[in-house]
């Protein structure tokens, strides 16, 4: 699951690969994997597994 919707990933990949695949600048987002927020330094080494719940968030306008 990616941001609440089912998402098929193209083969085994890391969080960094996933962000690159989605064309998302990793410096601008935060990623949560199975309810645990990932430090940016772990993007390169954290593998995405089948059934993972991934949330990718960024800043938007707000008060």
């Amino acid at each position: 699951m990616l941001n609440g919707d089912p998402y098929d990933v193209p083969g085994p990949l890391t969080i960094a690969d996933l962000l690159a695949h989605l064309d998302i600048d990793s410096r601008r987002v935060a990623v949560e994997r199975n309810l645990v927020v990932l430090k940016r330094a772990l993007f390169e080494t954290t593998e995405v597994s089948d059934g993972d719940q991934i949330e990718i968030v960024n800043f938007v306008g707000g008060g």
């Binding site: 601008r28 949560e32 927020v37 990718i56 968030v57 960024n58 800043f59 938007v60 008060g63």
Partner: protein, 257 residues
């Protein structure tokens, strides 16, 4: 210089502004400049996966000029607010959070019980917690005891523009609090911001009053001046209110008497 210090960090402006509801990013940028603010709030939301348009809020906010304060707006439980705060910390790389736990959809009034719970958890995790709260002195004291770095009572419901509804509570909260008190939400126009500052507020946080004005850039400047004048009036110490007139000109030496 008269500056605002929260959790050891000093801001030159006592006005904190939002980044939501602007008609365009360029209007927001100009409004931020006109406001003189050096702290801006942002919301944390899911990246749109299916529509990856290139526009990002951070393209329009100079992080060297503005301190980003992520909020937990839209969260209705302590757990969701805590989760959002943790994500905001990772996205912004600062441990500050404007903590909101909403208890009612129509008024957007805070759920103070959940707010306290979330404050305790996040303070334990090292966050600098700035809770958006009811204008209730007892709740504010509890938040402070829980480790909040400031208390942020509402002046009126979020986005309502009604101005400060309970002047006396705001004064009492200021008197009780040992941390900065920021009036957050409810400001409609410049006099509301001035009034908050005259009551002793350490700062004012607003979004809609500026972003929703016909001319947001001019309103942002008005708010900058209003916060400044209100603060100066507070520092100067106003005269006591009296029932009857006291002449300003001498009563002696009048012609024809």
């Amino acid at each position: 210089m008269d500056s605002l210090t929260i959790a050891g960090k000093t801001f030159s402006s006592r006005l904190i502004v939002g980044t939501g509801k602007y008609s365009s990013p360029s209007v927001m940028v100009k409004a931020h400049e006109a406001s003189g603010a050096d702290m801006v709030t942002v919301a944390v939301r899911r990246v749109n996966i299916s529509d990856r348009s290139k526009e990002s809020l951070l393209d329009y906010i100079d992080a060297s000029k503005y301190f980003l304060l992520p909020n937990t707006a839209g969260c209705y439980t302590a757990d969701d607010a805590i989760r959002t705060a943790r994500l905001g910390r990772e996205a912004g790389l600062s441990n500050w959070v404007k903590l909101e736990v909403i208890g009612d959809e129509r008024t957007l009034f805070p759920d103070n019980e959940a707010l306290l719970e979330a404050t305790r958890v996040l303070v334990r995790e090292g966050f600098v917690v700035l809770p958006y709260t009811s204008d209730d002195p007892v709740v504010c004291r509890k938040l402070e005891d829980a480790g909040a770095a400031a208390v942020m009572p509402l002046g009126a419901p979020i986005g309502s523009g009604l101005g400060i509804q309970n002047l006396n509570n705001i004064r009492i909260i200021r008197e009780f609090a040992r941390v900065p008190m920021i009036v957050d939400a409810g400001v409609g126009t410049a006099s509301d911001a001035s009034l908050a500052m005259e009551l002793g507020a350490d700062g004012v946080l607003m979004n809609t009053a500026i972003a929703g004005a016909q001319d947001p850039v001019t309103m942002a400047e008005a708010m900058k001046l209003a916060v400044k004048s209100g603060r100066l009036a507070f520092l100067a110490g106003r005269i006591a209110k009296k029932m009857y007139a006291t002449a300003s000109s001498p009563v002696e030496g009048l012609v024809g008497r």
